[in-house]
Symmetry: C2
Subunit: 359 residues, 2 copies
């Protein structure tokens, strides 16, 4: 099957070869070394400062989002959160559950974040800001510079869910003064799912030190303490961490995050041009696209029916949407081990469906 979803995605042969190996015992100097190398390379690609840290949690990206909130925020905070889709909604649910006072900036699906959305909150004592850099559910890539500037002016601690944009769109954690960046193993890192990665700036480390986390499993104090020697408090997804190591070194050898981002951008542009070239009956629904994914509204057929048809008859996964957008939106991802010829297969399937009057 060809996989154009936004995770899990296709993996390189080297990454898959790790999946086939026996999983090694991990309380060893050898595994510690690998984990410290992972930390160093992730920090490099996130453009984190030297005194930042990175930890690898065995959980989903959503687990990483909750982990950031439980370890870095308290009831004394006053949070601003952008809610423009199901991941923004998840931040809102988490702030409610953990009783963090917050104000929600609700955006319509597909809409970009603009200066006027923030102006009302200037100088109002907000202490923290939570943002999906890329709202994966609708494919909207928010203006992180706008949010970063707001945070700098207002002294806000900035938590960025970069799960599906990391290594897809430019991101400089130190210039943007981001406190926490979250990503996952199964997005542009193109490994198996199971690991959330958290990069923590010194401001985050200070908050973590002073806040009591009410979940031992997600306690970043314990994760940070163990990661000092390249270890984890609990048995981690060892195989995924080894895949991440291979992949980070692959990216580094090929020229780093910049080159990887260019590759994802190339795939996105190739696909988007083909859609236009063939005048396929799909409308791009996002005002501000990430390189990671193209969100499409099919104008002649249910999105979910297209997803099922392409899966069952062409052996290709595109990414369905859930909830209210189930029939109106599907997405095509540009992350993972994909080539132009893979996109040609997908485009040919669409053309075939048009010939058959299915779309």
């Amino acid at each position: 099957m060809l996989n154009f979803t936004v995770g899990p995605v296709m993996s390189s042969d080297a990454v898959r070869a790790i999946g086939a190996e026996q999983v090694p015992y991990f309380r060893t100097a050898e595994f510690s070394e690998l984990m410290l190398e992972n930390e160093s390379l992730i920090k490099k690609f996130a453009h984190a400062t030297d005194d930042s840290r990175a930890v690898f949690m065995t959980c989903s990206g959503s687990g990483g989002m909750e982990c950031a909130i439980m370890n870095c925020l308290s009831k004394k905070d006053k949070a601003l959160v952008v809610n423009g889709g199901s991941f923004g909604e998840r931040f809102v649910e988490l702030l409610k559950l953990h009783e963090i006072p917050f104000t929600e900036i609700k955006l319509e699906p597909g809409k970009a974040l603009k200066p006027e959305h923030l102006s009302a909150y200037e100088g109002k004592g907000y202490t923290t800001f939570l943002l999906q850099k890329h709202e994966t559910s609708t494919g909207v890539h928010y203006d992180i510079n706008l949010v970063s500037d707001f945070c700098k002016r207002n002294g806000c601690f900035l938590i960025v869910d970069a799960v599906s944009t990391f290594l897809c769109d430019p991101f400089d954690m130190s210039t943007l003064n981001v406190g926490v960046m979250i990503t996952g193993s199964q997005k542009a890192l193109a490994c198996s799912p199971g690991i959330a990665i958290m990069v923590l700036a010194p401001l985050a480390l200070k908050r973590i030190e002073n806040i009591k986390c009410n979940c031992q499993y997600l306690d970043l104090k314990l994760a940070l303490k163990n990661q000092e020697r390249g270890q984890t408090p609990w048995t981690p997804a060892v195989s995924v961490l080894r895949q991440i190591n291979v992949r980070l070194k692959e990216i580094d050898a090929a020229g780093g995050d910049k080159v990887e981002i260019e590759h994802v951008a190339c795939m996105a542009n190739y696909f988007r041009n083909k859609i236009k070239e063939h005048n396929l009956p799909f409308e791009i629904i996002s005002e501000s696209l990430s390189n990671a994914v193209t969100p499409l509204h099919p104008t002649t057929q249910s999105a979910n029916e297209i997803f099922l048809k392409i899966k069952d008859e062409y052996g290709i996964w595109i990414c369905p949407n859930g909830g209210e957008m189930k029939d109106t939106v599907f997405r095509v991802g540009h992350i993972g081990y994909l080539t132009e010829s893979d996109y040609d297969c997908l485009i040919n399937a669409f053309l075939d469906l048009r010939d058959k009057k299915f779309i």
Copy 2:
């Protein structure tokens, strides 16, 4: 490398082949079917009642332990917990963190649980009991019948950490009236680490319904709701769940849990007999052994030095102990894809070390 630790352990070729495959997209009917099959087979091997449920959480076994406490216990409970090693200690830490009133039954490392340890707590209003069926750190297999009988007499809800004993020693969840059983993907299931499995009896389901879980990621209400259709609330460790499916079906085809337990017992007996036969300078430190592991005190050399020597010079992992037992105890596991000839390799390495006067 040959791996005799207690997890991650050696996997079968079929399980490793899954690790080499591209990870499929999972919001599909195909993946749902696999997950429902996993639930059904796990319930079968745990001897759970038909109206029990099983869920698969992307976290470590320790995450599963915390999950059980956060979802099934409240401040109104009065818990008894056996603490005879580092996993018992973890239950104690978790009860403290989540403010569940409790009494600790502290046992010396290696010591069995006996009726006199429980007699003082009869009729004292305890509502719940937490037990490692097998305290992995010291290799003590506690008398679950003793605890089950106590719980039946006293109306206690019973939470069993079976992480390292499931499929190694007989366990009948319904006869024992166990409320929650926890295990992990990387023990006798011999898959990659990353998944904790929770089997939940109707009594547990009722508790979960009435208790607010203060962590969304570990919320069993959400996990149960999604598992009704074979799904998970967050992206799970898909690859590990597919490995678990292959492995559960392997076990089922070979005759089920009873046959698997016999195999592990055979491996344990083979190794233990060889140790005696060759009069190796190791003392078994547990009063009550599980088939899963043999905990050994070497009388002529530091346990950690033996672990390092065997790793670096013979390409074999045995399982080191941490903390106070670092130099006094190592363990040899009997779970995973191991044969008698693998144990012959290990025994030959020990014999060679004795010839060289290292032990």
